[in-house]
């Protein structure tokens, strides 16, 4: 019997509904994707045969295997436990102190992920702090010093002199051997030769070694000597000190050859003090400068009198005669030259200062006498709380050299100085060095001196070291390490402690020194840790309760003896007189291995990568030497001979140089005998050979009255007939009387308050009755700012509009902004040959203009034709005035560069920035051509690699650690330019956003504005009604460079005002 039972799944099936039947046939109710693919009719004809299958399989396997081989392995090791205070991507700033025997500054070091990458002045504490801004003043050498940390040519460990020169050794061996050497030398004279120490704990470490070896003595040697000054103070006041100055109190500054804005004294202090009194107004100081070479100070002076080197002491005598009222014996011409300065000084007794750059004790005694008569001690000059930064004693150095040669010295330990390079009698020093049984250098490099020593026990870089300083009585600063030592180096104080047998670490010694010191100021021992932590945090400790200087010092030197001594330096009979100086970039030569500094153009001559003979254009013309220098126009070589000493260098026309004088910069020619003094100390010449940068001019110095003299009065200059290419960034000298580029006026005109008299807006004639006189004529004009060809970018009054204001009065031309910009924005160093071709990459440059005797008005008066007028305008006057003008991208709101880029690689941001998108740039350079300010820079080569790496430590693996990770490193073939530090703007905006507040004025700084200790560069938001930058931009002195072309920059300049007595301004 067949079963009639029916099995069903659902009611639809039971009732035999058509849908259900259909559904039953189709097991999968929805079409599978594969059916669609397989159902494609076009596949019907296709066949994948066995062979094809194997081909595909083989290819697939092969491709996968190859891809696997090429996978790069990137080692990225994250923190297992994240350090509390390090967040990747967020910078940490540490307070520290820079002191190299030359420059002193309290600094802040920016570190990223543990790497120091940028240095700026400490805006809260320190002698170099300008409290009015507040900002820490530094110079280019200081902010560039971060790069030298990563110089791979620093010694990687101790070195021992063997039969075949220096060989690597170990600390254990060094300690053992040196300790034995010291023991052997016990009883004989043992000398530690250093620069000025100014460090209480270093002195304490020395004391520890001295306890073991009582014959040990400290000789301090300043590479650039101030012995003349300190000796004069010993004679005048019974104290062998260098006074500290307060230029904020000086209404009149008279400097005789003291370049206090660049090299003389504590410049990080004097620059901001000076600049604070350069604000035009009633309180503006008046600055007189007497000098042979146009120095940075001279370039800033209101009255600059070029004098021969031999006339400078006479000028001091004449000033003394004027001030003291005893005119006997003073030179009549000098009496006249110094008359106005003396008059100004007499009118500002107690509110003035006279400084002299001479190292002649007699001259300095006379200066002390002048200041004493003027009553400046106690106000502008402090002798009771002197600067401790210049303690070097040339007489002791001379005695040391004698002792070394006579065999009296048993051991010589050298720290921080390079006498074999910088002493006038370096040969004697070297000869003596060979006779000393134990010679140890603490130099970080196998430099001129270290390479001659028995041992090199390399010191840490200062950014790897703990240290303390007392730059002035009652003012203490701490140097704190911001990175562990990169190499197997050891701080030299640490070495002293080891050899003294002490087991105390130098850090602990500093702490205990401070603890004792603070007790002296009444600090409580139990509070010490707090105070110490605060001091480490601030970098500076200024105990309360230290009485200000009472200045009881009474001048008590023999003026007539001093006059006689000074007179010895006035007997110039030669054809030429030579002055030796140090440049803003290189200083005494300690930093000659720093490529940022080598490539920083000299503020006045605009020459990079060389030293040279500065000569007056009139002398150059007379001698028939090359006047115009450029890419294909090399300088003439001359030999400068002073007695037995001679040097051959290119000669450069320097307007303002006194005729009959020449000047040569010290600090060059490092590593001339192949010593490894740092990667950038040598450069490639125009044919690609390695040559030292410049020549060493220290052999031209001499011993005068027991101190090093930096002049020679009987000098001959002879042309060799050869030429030498120089790398110069600005070949043109004058501003061609272009009023819309540089505007300047004098104080009297400024004080009239009539803006039109000194800052006249450019106007265009219009066809409407503007002046309301009923007729439309040429008198109807409107300021150019009211015209606009284009639609405005919607940046005014909307959101932020970033801008810079640059005060031509505040800018002293030091160039710290240039190197700060280099460091912040990863700007390539391109080397001498590329700079010679005018291809330096600086985003920020410092334009220098000399005044010309010919102006448009004078040409009209003289009836000169236009062609003659322009030709004459190209020539600076014999004693010109100087304008420094920092120029970076002006961030035009109608940017000519933006319209011409075919691929829109440069665009305007809604915050007023002119942005450069490197990735989009194809390198047509049209933007650079169309930039009226010529601020755009092109990557002509792959500057990151090839020959440029050889002069630039930043381009090896170690050097790359200095790069700012927030800024792209640009490749070949793209344009770059100032971004107004957009990375800092972005960071500042984010910080404000996190804090939930608007961006505070002053919270964001660009690299240049934060490096500018004089406050000449101010950054801010022009849409912020209360911002400082808006106040400046709308002030009477504000103008836009090239206003009439209507590009509407976001950068404005403030008219330069000189405190001169002339009735009419040079540029009315």
């Amino acid at each position: 019997m067949s079963s009639t039972k029916r099995y069903w799944k659902d009611l639809g099936e039971l009732h035999q509904q058509p849908e259900a039947i259909k559904g039953r046939e189709n097991e999968f109710p929805q079409d599978l994707a594969i059916d669609q693919v397989l159902g494609d009719a076009s596949f019907n004809g296709a066949s994948t045969g066995r062979r094809d299958f194997l081909k595909f399989l083989g290819f697939g396997l092969g491709a996968a295997t190859l891809a696997a081989c090429e996978t790069p392995v990137i080692k990225s090791i994250p923190y297992v436990n994240k350090p509390e205070d390090i967040t990747p991507g967020v910078a940490n700033w540490y307070a520290s102190t820079f002191y190299d025997g030359e420059d002193f500054a309290s600094i802040l070091v920016k570190t990223r992920e543990g790497r120091p990458i940028h240095i700026k002045g400490n805006p809260r504490f320190g002698l170099n702090r300008n409290p009015a801004l507040p900002k820490g003043s530094i110079n280019a050498r200081i902010n560039s010093s971060v790069l030298s940390l990563y110089d791979n040519e620093r010694l990687h460990g101790p070195m021992k002199k063997g039969a075949e020169g220096m060989a690597a050794s170990t600390w254990a061996e060094a300690d053992k051997s040196i300790a034995a050497g010291l023991d052997a030398a016990a009883g004989k004279r043992m000398v530690v030769l250093t620069g000025t120490l100014a460090s209480p704990s270093s002195a304490a470490a020395l004391e520890q070694l001295k306890a073991k070896y009582p014959t040990l003595e400290l000789v301090q040697y300043d590479t650039i000597s101030y012995s003349g000054v300190t000796n004069a103070n010993l004679k005048s006041f019974g104290k062998r000190v260098f006074p500290s100055y307060d230029l904020t109190k000086a209404d009149v500054v008279v400097s005789v050859d003291a370049d206090f804005l660049s090299s003389w004294g504590n410049t990080t202090e004097s620059t901001w003090q000076y600049a604070s009194r350069r604000q035009p107004g009633k309180g503006m100081n008046r600055h007189f400068q007497f000098e042979a070479r146009m120095s940075l100070s001279g370039a800033n002076a209101d009255v600059r009198v070029p004098l021969k080197v031999s006339e400078l002491p006479k000028a001091v005598m004449a000033l003394h005669a004027h001030i003291s009222g005893s005119g006997s014996g003073a030179d009549a011409a000098m009496m006249k030259a110094t008359e106005s300065a003396a008059k100004a000084l007499m009118a500002s007794k107690g509110r003035s200062v006279v400084v002299a750059g001479s190292n002649n004790e007699g001259v300095q005694v006379l200066v002390n006498s002048i200041n004493s008569i003027l009553g400046n001690y106690g106000s502008t000059i402090d002798i009771d709380r002197p600067s401790t930064l210049h303690q070097g004693n040339d007489a002791e150095v001379a005695r040391l050299v004698e002792g070394m040669n006579s065999g009296a010295v048993g051991a010589l330990l050298i720290a921080g100085v390079n006498p074999a390079y910088s002493l006038p009698n370096a040969d004697q020093f070297k000869a003596g060095l060979a006779k000393v049984p134990l010679t140890v250098s603490f130099s970080g490099y196998a430099d001129e001196t270290a390479s001659l020593c028995g041992w090199i026990c390399p010191d840490n870089h200062y950014l790897e070291s703990w240290n303390d300083f007392m730059p002035k009585a009652g003012h203490y600063t701490l140097g704190q390490p911001v990175i562990s030592p990169l190499f197997d180096t050891r701080q030299w104080q640490e070495s002293l402690l080891r050899w003294s047998g002490s087991s105390v670490a130098y850090y602990d010694l500093i702490r205990s020194t401070w603890q004792q010191g603070m007790a002296q100021y009444g600090g409580l021992a139990e509070m010490f840790t707090n105070t110490w932590n605060q001091a480490v945090h601030d970098g500076v400790y200024e105990p309360a309760g230290i009485p200000a200087g009472v200045n009881t010092a009474v001048f008590a030197a023999d003026v007539s003896a001093a006059t006689a001594m000074a007179t010895a330096s006035t007997t110039g009979a030669g054809e030429f007189e030579l002055a030796l100086y140090t440049t803003e970039a290189i200083g005494s030569g300690r930093h000659a291995n720093n490529p940022w500094l080598q490539e920083m153009p000299d503020p006045l001559t605009k020459i990079t990568w060389d030293n040279y003979v500065c000569m007056a254009p009139a002398d150059i013309e007379r001698m028939g030497l090359n006047m115009y220098l450029g890419e294909q126009a090399p300088a003439s070589l001359v030999t400068v001979k002073a007695g037995e000493r001679e040097i051959t260098l290119p000669v450069v026309p320097t307007p303002g140089q006194r005729t009959g004088t020449v000047a040569i910069a010290l600090g060059y020619g490092r590593g001339a005998n192949g010593e490894k003094v740092g990667r950038a100390a040598c450069t490639t010449d125009h044919i690609g050979d390695f040559v030292p940068v410049g020549k060493n001019a220290y052999p031209m110095t001499s011993w005068v009255n027991g101190a090093v003299g930096y002049e020679a009065l009987n000098v001959t200059v002879t042309a060799t007939g050869d030429t030498y290419p120089v790398a110069i960034t600005q070949t043109h000298l004058t501003d061609m009387d272009r009023h819309s580029v540089v505007k300047e006026t004098n104080l009297a005109t400024f004080l009239t308050g009539d803006k039109k008299a000194y800052n006249h807006a450019h106007e265009l004639g219009v066809h409407e009755d503007v002046n309301g006189d009923g007729v439309i004529n040429a008198l109807d004009k409107k300021p150019v700012a009211e015209f606009d060809l284009w639609e405005e970018h919607p940046v005014e009054g909307v959101g932020h509009r970033w801008g810079l204001s640059i005060d031509l009065n505040g800018c002293i031309g030091c160039g710290a902004c240039i190197t700060a910009c280099n460091s912040e924005n990863n700007i390539s160093v391109v080397g001498k040959d590329e700079v010679r071709r005018s291809r330096e990459m600086h985003w920020l440059r410092l334009d220098r203009y000399y005044s010309s005797a010919t102006t448009k008005e004078s040409a009209k008066e003289d009836g000169l034709g236009k062609i003659d007028m322009y030709l004459k305008m190209e020539v600076p006057e014999e004693s010109p005035t100087v304008v420094f003008m920092p120029v970076m991208c002006q961030h035009c709101n109608h940017a000519p560069c933006e319209t011409v880029c075919p691929v829109a690689a440069t665009t305007h941001s809604n915050e007023g920035l002119n942005q450069m998108t490197y990735n989009r740039c194809i390198g047509t350079r049209y933007c650079a051509n169309n930039c009226p300010y010529k601020v755009r820079r092109f990557n002509w080569f792959n500057y990151v690699s090839e020959k440029f790496g050889e002069v630039n430590p930043a381009w090896d693996d170690l050097g790359r650690m200095v790069l700012n990770p927030d800024v792209t490193v640009r490749s070949r073939g793209v344009i770059e330019k100032c971004s107004m530090c957009v990375q800092s703007i972005q960071a500042g905006k984010l910080a404000a956003k996190k804090a939930g507040t608007p961006v505070q004025d002053g919270a964001i700084e660009t690299a240049c504005s934060s490096a500018c200790g004089t406050g000449a560069i101010v950054f801010g938001d022009l849409n912020d009604k209360k911002s400082k930058v808006l106040g400046l931009a709308t002030s009477d002195r504000s103008y836009h460079m090239l206003e009439e072309i209507g590009v509407k920059p976001n950068v404005n300049y403030l008219v330069k005002v000189r405190n001169t007595e002339e009735a009419a301004a040079h540029h009315a």
């Binding site: 829109a904 194809i922 820079r937 073939g973 590009v1047």
Partner: protein
Amino acid sequence: MHSEAAIREPLILGHKTYHDITSDIVSPIENKAPRGWYILFTIAALIAAYGTGCILYLISKGIGVWGLNKTVDWAWDITNFVWWVGIGHAGTLISAVLLLFRQKWRMAINRSAEAMTIFAVIMAATFPGIHMGRIWMAYWVFPLPNQFGSLWVNFNSPLLWDVFAISTYFSVSLVFWYIGLIPDFATIRDRVTKPGMKKMYSLLSFGWTGNAKAWTRFEEVSLVLAGIATPLVFSVHSVVSMDFATSIIPGWHTTIFPPYFVSGAVFSGFAMVQTLLLIMRKVMKLESYITIKHIEYMNIVIIVTGSIVGVAYITELFISWYSGVEYESYAFINRATGPYWWAYWSMMTCNVISPQLFWVRSWRRHLGFTFFMSIIVNIGMWFERFVIIVTSLHRDYLPSSWNMFHPTWVDVGVFLGTIGIFFTLYLLFARFFPVLALNEVKSILKTSGESYKKQAADHSHH
């Protein structure tokens, strides 16, 4: 058939028949090339190879191998670009504008002039390419859809207009030239016997049959293309001039530039046509077709355009004084008296003074003198662009940035190289392509041929 006034000089000399014309033009292609051709070709090819090497070196090392600097960011590169574009203009003017104006004398010269245009434009287009810092990104100048978001080219930039202008110009010129070549290729195809040659010219002639319908279409297409090409004669160099005219650099920012550049272009183009044709008519024995009259006509064009250029120079000077703009006035004084005075006065001598010598009839009909002048004019026009570009840039607004430009061997090598490539291409053209529009020339034989004119004159006397 047209009849032509007897006083007009004949455009085809001697007793030529249609067959003579064909064999005169085609035989150089059929026969072995003369020794001179091989010598010239070897020299040109060597220079071309050297130039190509320089270009490759430039691309591998970076633009820094040129002498440019932070102030002068363009120099020989864009000078050469404008110079080559300018040279191209004569070809288009001859083939298009003179066609529209029914100037029969153009028929003897238009083919080679157009070839010159094509090759000159290729050379010109090389420079904007290789002057880029990142030539491998050169395609970004085209408005291509891309994956960079909504990233587009900048239509405000004259450089972008250049891209459109040059590419349009090149394509239209190429098509125009090629269309004209088709019947002539067919003629060659029908004559040659070597199978390889036959195959090649068959392909090149696009199956031309020569029936009446084809000729009608040919005429129509020529006319239409002439209509399209004519505005290009004026637009291309106007656009090129806007690279400068729309900028703000004193010496560049000048509204006079478009007409000034166009006339300068025609001026230099005709000079280059003279240079090439004077050699070619001698070497290829085309004296019957490229007559003294042709040379004279072209010299007249040179006087006219040269005078326009001269007036433009003087107008610029006048305006620089009259405007009272300090920078503008200085820019021109600097051109004439500054460090590059020699470039300015070379330009003035070559372009303004020398063409005026053609007012003397015997001089403008003198072959040697014409050849010499054609070289002078091209040197002058190169200097004109150099003066505009380099002397304006080297001293612009801020004296702090004033600088000099010094060329390097690569600058020189690349320029020479383009001349080498140009002549290589031209020599290949002369060897394998009909250098005269032979079918067009035939069309004027009976009206402008010397023997026919004589016959006609004899008839009319009877």
